[in-house]
Symmetry: C2
Amino acid sequence: MASADGIVGPKQMGGNEPQLSMAPCAAATSSTRPRSATKSLPRFDPGVMETYLDDMRDMRARVNELFRQHPELLPNVEEGLSKEEHRDLVRRALKVILQAGYSPLEMLARDPRKYFYLGECLSMVDLSLMVKSGVQYSLWGGSVLNLGSEAHRRRYFDDIAQFRLPGCFAMTELKHGSNVAALQTEAVLDVLSDEWVVHTPEEGAIKWWIGNAAEDGRAATVFARLKVPDPNGGSKLVDHGVHAFVVPLRDPNGNLLRGVEIRDCGYKVGLNGVDNGAIRFTHVRIPRVNLLDRFASVDKSGRYSSPLTSQARRFAATLGELTGGRVGLTAGSVGVLKGAVTIAVRYAALRQQFGPPDCPEVAILDYQSTQLRLMPLLATCYGLHFARGLLVDKYVDMKRTREPKLVEEVHALSAGLKAYTTGYTQSALSTCREACGGHGYAAVNRLGALRSDHDIFQTFEGDNTVLLQQVSAMLLKEYRQQFSGAPLTASYHYLRSALLGALPNNPLVTHDTEPRHLRDPAFLAKALEYRTARMLFTLSLRLRKHGPKLGSFHAWNKCLDHVLSLARAYVESVIYKTFLRAVAGCVDPECRRSLKAMSDLFALRLIEGDMMFRNDEYIAPAKAKAISRLVVALCSELRGQALNLVDAFAIPDHILRAPIGLGGNGGAGPQPDIYREYLAAAGFEV
Amino acid sequence: MASADGIVGPKQMGGNEPQLSMAPCAAATSSTRPRSATKSLPRFDPGVMETYLDDMRDMRARVNELFRQHPELLPNVEEGLSKEEHRDLVRRALKVILQAGYSPLEMLARDPRKYFYLGECLSMVDLSLMVKSGVQYSLWGGSVLNLGSEAHRRRYFDDIAQFRLPGCFAMTELKHGSNVAALQTEAVLDVLSDEWVVHTPEEGAIKWWIGNAAEDGRAATVFARLKVPDPNGGSKLVDHGVHAFVVPLRDPNGNLLRGVEIRDCGYKVGLNGVDNGAIRFTHVRIPRVNLLDRFASVDKSGRYSSPLTSQARRFAATLGELTGGRVGLTAGSVGVLKGAVTIAVRYAALRQQFGPPDCPEVAILDYQSTQLRLMPLLATCYGLHFARGLLVDKYVDMKRTREPKLVEEVHALSAGLKAYTTGYTQSALSTCREACGGHGYAAVNRLGALRSDHDIFQTFEGDNTVLLQQVSAMLLKEYRQQFSGAPLTASYHYLRSALLGALPNNPLVTHDTEPRHLRDPAFLAKALEYRTARMLFTLSLRLRKHGPKLGSFHAWNKCLDHVLSLARAYVESVIYKTFLRAVAGCVDPECRRSLKAMSDLFALRLIEGDMMFRNDEYIAPAKAKAISRLVVALCSELRGQALNLVDAFAIPDHILRAPIGLGGNGGAGPQPDIYREYLAAAGFEV
């Protein structure tokens, strides 16, 4: 029995140093893991993993090479760039990319996989560059391509592609972001002159946050309420709702056109290399043909016609064409997460602090607290990488087949994954900064700027809270369609039995604490499916209950937390299933072992964190505790392969740039002395 | 029974707008709460609440007035300040404060309550200013006052107080932050010249992140290993461990002294108004009397003596004198949290988006999701405000009485509250930015800069992860002392029965779902105490079990997550008890009702989030669900008083500055039109 004195860590209240005794150095110095740690994962070749992760390595190598030749295009934090200087840098970088023969618009139109891949490549170069390109090609170009007719495409394609016609996507207004249907900008047809008169009727309708508007934009896709004279001769205009119009903003010399007022939105939290502006239109006249008329057209007489039968359907079709932006943000966000995790893991493996008495200090990555911080991030990063791949593949299929079922699925998946990925990455950026301590706070180490730049990914192209609601709405719609016409009881019994089927079919399972069972994909997948099905079932019941009393809007609001949780649960279940397929598809046994461990960790963390499994007695208390122990053990196992796992992301040093995170030499040789890089960055001679 | 069509929210997958039917406008337009919402809290007078929160209002009013007269001293984000410009601004602001008759060093020495209060006042003015002042007075001044003798105080006090002698606190080194005992800088006594030779023996020992060093510092308290000749005549020097020395850095003209090399640490994630530098010493000679010798002295012959018997005790006493810094950071962090919550709540109450069909849109603060985001922040902000008050009072008592028991308590409390508060505020800043959507991303609305500036509060003056370990170490030490000498079984039985005593004494209680019970402070306090006691008990058992096998260091590491959870649980229990006293002490019945609701929400969220209560069957599943429902209901209740609750923080508009958060006119009149402020900020004529 140990004496009471032997059990306590940091004894001195005044000191930071644990004064400990009896600790064997050996454990810390040989493998830097205590002997009691779980078994270790087999070492794998990061190059093999890289190949498995990435089938477009050549393209990335070429893009990276471009910036090796043009280091002056990478924003240098030590220069304290003004927004004007940063914008200029971004403009020049975009030009270099075009001159090297890459055409993002071509890629978007003909090979979207390449387009999204390019976005991920640029994300660790400079997020402002990635977003500026996204505004020009995905938003401005994409809206012309997807919402316009062949004539529009012919007229604008080359000029947009070559950045000869920089443009904007003018949707958001000062008072309306998420609620696009309530936009107030109007486009009224003047039949006599055959023109639309685009006008901002009140201050709240000023277009706001419009990328490319403050300096560069020469034209914009403007979302405005389409109004035409009453065909029945009434005196009032008929409002057909929000449509998209091409509106010129500046002449070739950059001078604003008549009736167009633009203000710079000023400094933002991040992304200051993108020139966001606010636009007010005062009776701006544009030709009738500037209506992007794929889903609705207006003839010379002012007659409105559309192949789609309702305003709601046209609106949905219009917005549905813009899912590409969300796919792009998901890819960019995964790229940022890879970069941040790379920096944090490398630094934590090198930074040493404290240790057993009379022994060398241990790496902070050997502390349980650091492992619990960083290993789940690493596992989730891999999961999101594969989920991003699924999303891109489905998007490409959808564009090819235009199959309605797939359109819906991609819409929900892009909304859900965009919200989940960007939310996850954002909080991971803070975790990484904190894990890197004081040196993580040096601007040169990038975690702060990445956090500030990436932050708005959670909000633009659909606020995450709104997007998650769309996911749940789709799940409910599917559920409803399945039971359309059937009495409530039928669907109730159906889903109830489905749920019961997902319950462990043996009470022993509820109590099974064996790692073999806890790491069984069948158990994990079933548990995550059970969670989604249960939430869907109970949400539907609650909405049915509250709807009649409160009306649907307030009933929905009363269940809003439930709605958001359902969407997250669904997305997590999709990510896990994708992760499992990726594990199964990996033929290299060593790589597969690490992938399997990460997929287990991903799923177990979710089960560990959700009270529902306990409240339902889906897992017994002893099992819950065993899961928590297993999570700790998996983090410890993964620590041994952590450096290889980030090396497999293959971000070269000249792109990663953070001195404390360097070492991206394809796993060749030992980690470089990051402190020397850091000393040099501060101006010391080394 | 509702038709299936009636139950779903946003029907259109392509659209953002919930297309709903049957919702009564009335509910949304009159009180903006659906009729089914829980009862509302009585309206209270924010002025009364403000008085209850703050007994030094006059001082704050005067400080705020200073910056009304000097708006040019507030950093203007639209100017894209370089670090040099921002540093200059901070220097000028500090001068204005001194010229107005405030002497932070006098306050620190004679009335620390005022010192910490001033820090909180400055936190929403400019965090760089608060930190610069903290470096000069709390760190540089405080180290001289607390670690030096009367002679040091006499010599330096006035020059430090008047900023005639700007100084630094040179503790952290490139390779050592948390592990202060392992610092490598050395001070070797040269008996012949009666001088210390201060030297940086290797690059890893370069002093790093030293505030005030890059531009202003003329001297520094340098922490270095004190080495003297062996009194027994041996050839090796005797290393007495880390001590503090006053080392001059620059002459009065600002030129570096011989042997002192200083580099600018460059841009940081935030706080760029503070000039952090890296310092390398090359055989710098200082007089022997420059040792700050309160806890140890060295005579002319090199004989070392100390009233404290061991190196560990001297080290603890030295660091123990620096708790004031943590109290200051806690106060500043609470100030930031108040500001951020004020901005987010005001904007969410004004911003409208979506609504029932044919009805006005509703404020985003009326969405359950926004309430669940912001109301717990508001409640915790109040809780932390009161806990900060407790900490300051105890600190003042400790300084007065120097009672050893109180010294230990204040050390643990300052470590725990600093870690908890700064961690909480940091994540709250992200939540507030996200809740404010796109407009929260405008730099002018400050949430980004606050997040970037505040971030390092989690790391400096003790990394939060390390500080929390100190809290748990103290709890274990107390526990150990209580049972010192007793056999393990005795302490086991004692704590076990204490735990059982904290269990609901009636199985019905475990299942009691009545709000009256769930909101009973006796239930809530007991539950939180149970949690802490249980974690302490089980942690002690685990450490006893693993210690013999692994050694204390690795045993501690194996339980590290448990250690950190225990510390957080303890701090939360302290905050809640303080909150309860504040509720009880409030004589205004309307204010008290809101305070009570917030204290309930604070405690219930903690119980809701901790699986342990379920795993122990401390609460039954039905009770867990009732708690979740009550959390939602309390957030909805508090929404009605949310504007008053932030008005009571009384941050005037010219200090808050964020256009979307304005309205701090002492609760007089309606909220101003923040959109107009915002339009004006972007350059539109309004």
